[in-house]
């Protein structure tokens, strides 16, 4: 492997020309993508760029297709660039390819992609996580230094954890959603995958900020996210979400306890924090997210863009057959659940109640943050699972996001940082969550942890052996 690719972006960019950097990435993609299926499209004539970036295929770009991992958009070419893409390009980034994903970002394993699953660089018989599995695999296999993903319930942090890289979801409204194909508008955020916390903070400086094309983007000042990286954690107060962690056993628990000790030794105080409603996060999530998805995905009707059924003869048949043919099983399942939850007679009992429990969860997080600077959990309840292990049991798949979904429901930022390895050599991960717009707190804690442990330096066997 080319040494430049082993380095974080912040170091590599000092050592190679933009042209060389992009060409090196393109060669790495050529070498590894056949076995990993991380990229759906590669821009072989990508312009030289001091920041080579891979972008999840639900973030629209004018120079490549944007399929959302779905047959219904297999030929779609966006007439505009997403705001985050425009900002990256304006700062000298080269978009080298679009990454594989669960269809419309609905999944936790990448197995719901219409174009076949991406694979985990640490063990290609296992999932890379999802839905931004391609982005996480691309960074983990050192094909690119930076990738954008998207989050609705953990879709950046969970695959980053399973692939042993840094995954970050900002505060709701921190990065414009303009050009991110909508899944659940009150939860969706663009997220960032990198090798190191510094790279993540620096990329956020480029893409964060208010955007007139997204009214939900925040006017809160952005910038200087890399400011506190060297400060350490002396005097910081961390809360362990006891209800989330208590039931954990085995190596994930042992790894988490060891990670907490690293922060404690750095001078942080650790306390137990109670968030009683956190155990309901997945139940809330699968009502709220699916209700919003059922409305957002009504735009795919075979009329203005996307697949139109050849079988349809009436307008109603165009809708039903185009959607029936174009969407995969998981997308249909979620649209059905969301439509049900919003339908007459069930709205109050399902959508209304889920929103009220969500409000309670938000309140409990706000209370918890009165006593601590940040909250800690493992990022995932287990390391990467084998491809096929959960495809027959949607509920088991949903529970992969048990530690990540709360941050989306509450709107707070969260970061996943590599925290070591399981006995069979699979990455494990520590999650840190901060209050709204507490990104600097996350990066400060994450950078300290990363410096103390250095797990990001370990390469997957497929690269180490080369």
């Amino acid at each position: 492997m080319n040494d430049v690719l082993a380095l974080p972006w912040s170091e590599a960019r000092e050592q190679v020309s933009p042209r060389e950097y992009v060409e090196t990435c393109l060669r790495a993609i050529e070498t590894h993508n056949e076995s990993l299926n991380a990229f759906l499209h590669v821009h072989r004539e990508a312009q030289p760029g001091a920041l080579p970036v891979a972008v999840k295929d639900n973030i629209v770009t004018t120079d490549m297709p944007s399929t959302c991992g779905s047959h219904i958009l297999r030929d779609f070419r966006s007439p505009f660039d997403a705001t985050a893409i425009a900002r990256l390009r304006a700062n000298g980034a080269a978009i080298v390819g679009k990454t594989n994903m669960d269809e419309f970002a609905m999944g936790s394993s990448n197995e719901h992609s219409a174009f076949g699953p991406a694979r985990n660089p640490w063990d290609p018989s296992r999932v890379p996580g999802g839905s931004s599995g391609g982005s996480a695999a691309a960074v983990a296999a050192r094909m690119v230094p930076v990738a954008l993903g998207s989050e609705t319930g953990g879709s950046v942090r969970q695959p980053a954890a399973l692939c042993g890289v840094v995954g970050f979801k900002p505060t709701y409204g921190r990065i414009s959603r303009n050009g991110l194909v909508a899944f659940a508008s009150s939860l969706d955020q663009i997220g960032i995958v990198t090798k190191t916390v510094r790279d993540c903070a620096e990329v956020l400086e480029i893409v964060a900020g208010h955007d007139p094309y997204d009214s939900t983007s925040s006017s809160e000042p952005a910038g200087e996210y890399a400011h506190d990286l060297e400060r350490g954690v002396q005097g910081m107060r961390f809360g362990i979400v006891s209800k989330a962690v208590d039931r954990l056993e085995g190596e994930v628990r042992a790894n988490f306890d060891a990670a907490v000790d690293v922060l404690r030794r750095g001078g942080a105080t650790i306390e137990q924090v109670s968030i009683p409603t956190i155990g309901y996060a997945i139940a809330i999530y699968y009502i709220v997210a699916n209700a919003e998805a059922s409305a957002n995905l009504s735009r795919f009707d075979g009329i203005r863009y996307g697949h139109r059924s050849e079988m349809a003869r009436t307008l109603s048949e165009v809708y039903d057959a185009s959607r029936g043919e174009g969407f995969g099983a998981e997308v249909k399942r979620r649209i059905m659940l969301g439509t049900f939850a919003l339908s007459a007679g069930y709205y109050d009992a399902y959508y209304g109640r889920a929103q009220r429990v969500r409000a309670k969860l938000r309140h409990e997080f706000a209370e918890a943050f009165k006593g601590v600077d940040a909250l800690l959990t493992p990022t995932t309840p287990e390391p990467a699972f084998p491809i096929g292990a959960k495809t027959e049991d949607p509920l088991a798949m949903y529970l992969s996001d048990i530690f990540t979904a709360p941050a989306n429901l509450v709107g707070i930022p969260g970061i996943a940082v590599p925290s070591g390895f399981s006995a069979n050599g699979l990455p494990l991960s520590l999650q840190v969550m901060a209050p709204h717009f507490g990104e600097r707190t996350l990066f400060r804690a994450g950078a300290f942890f990363e410096r103390e442990t250095g797990y990001w330096r370990t390469l997957p066997p497929m690269l180490a052996a080369r």
Partner: protein, 115 residues
Amino acid sequence: MKIDLDEARRVAALAHLQFDDAGLERMAAEMTKILTYIDQLSEVDVEGFEERDATVTPFRADEPHASLDRELVARNAPSWRDGLFVVPKVIEGNAGVATMGAAASTPPSREAGDE
């Protein structure tokens, strides 16, 4: 919450999704399982918590902006003619579906004469 076949059919019609019989049956079973898990939300005391968040999304000023390039929009359209999306006849009960035919899918770039 048990979803029977009739209920699944009702929801599929609302969602504009076509299923074959086996697919609909499988969907009903999966929805039942997932909703049974979700039903635990009914045990939470939500007294004092409202369905709607108090924060309001601000509106932008209602000023005209440049819109999307029509040529680029047309390129993604399944069927397009004379600057319009072509769809089957909307009012049913008449002779047919004539507008969906071959003439409808001519790419816009070859229609300079129509402008």
